[in-house]
Amino acid sequence: MVTARRLVLDLLKPYEPDVVTFADAVAGIDGVTGVNVVLVETDKEVQTVKMTVEGDPIQVEIVYETLEDLGAAVHSIDEVVCGDRIVEQSKTPQD
């Protein structure tokens, strides 16, 4: 099973269940140490949210299954950190 230290996801979700339920459900997964959910955009029937998950380690498949069960669709994986420690992105000349 793929594991990660940090996962940043762009999600499309219905209004219900609300973001609190989403954050709580993912925070309850074994290995997850913290979850942050930020509302990015609200449409008529759906919301776009950015979810940041950190854990030691995060079981990625279980996070996906939980989100799918809650009715969310993963639009994109915006950041993944794997390995023994969390590595922040480094600056490059292009930045």
Binding site: L12, P14, K44, E45, V46, E68, D69, L70, G71, A73
Partner: protein, 193 residues
């Protein structure tokens, strides 16, 4: 069975489910109580001499109204909730079958249908119960009056309950609902047939 009941209890924790269930319960309970007034006054005026017969007629009405309450709400809520899910699926561009929102809708539908069926059963069976004492404690006349009294009391309770959730005067709201029972009894007496 226990998990089934737990799912229903979880559905009842949601305010939107409680609100819709409350409407069905009160609306169909109102129908049931007024039907029972019609049955009891009609039975008395048509000269039925046996309380048990009137009670049996009332139970027939309760079965009919209870079944109608469960069945109609089951179908109404199935259509409404499917339409709601289809709207969300259209916006999400994905299938939401077997997700939590789908399971929540199914649970909500069961609670709505159940409450819709319980309302008229309470609304009919309780007002009909004085007829069980006809011949021992009550005459047909007093059983009919007691039946109307119980129906009006149920209607008053419905009104008072609605008042408590909408911050109205419970006495006024209860009296307004109870008046409907008295009106049905009077109409049964004064209208021909």
């Amino acid at each position: 069975m226990r998990s089934y009941l737990r799912r229903l209890a979880r559905a009842l924790e949601r305010e939107d489910v409680r609100s819709i269930s409350r409407r069905y319960f009160i609306s169909n309970g109102f129908d049931g109580a007024l039907t029972s007034v019609g049955v009891s006054v009609g039975a008395y005026l048509s000269g039925i001499a046996d309380g048990l017969t009137v009670f049996s007629i009332g139970i027939g009405a309760a079965i009919g109204l209870g079944t109608s309450g469960v069945w109609s709400v089951w179908e109404i809520e199935r259509a409404e909730k499917r339409a709601e899910l289809a709207r969300i699926e259209h916006a999400m561009l994905s299938d939401l079958d077997e997700t939590r929102i789908h399971r929540q809708q199914t649970g909500a539908r069961k609670v709505n249908a159940l409450m819709s069926g319980i309302g008229p059963i309470i609304g009919v069976v309780l007002p009909m119960s004085p007829f069980l004492f006809e011949g021992t404690l009550l005459s047909m006349r007093t059983a009919t009056l007691a039946s109307i009294g119980v129906a009006v009391a149920i209607l008053f309770t419905f009104g008072a309950y609605l008042a408590t959730i909408s911050e109205q005067s419970w006495v006024v709201a209860g009296a307004r609902m109870g008046l409907a029972g008295v009106l049905v009894a009077v109409l049964n007496i004064v209208l021909p047939g």
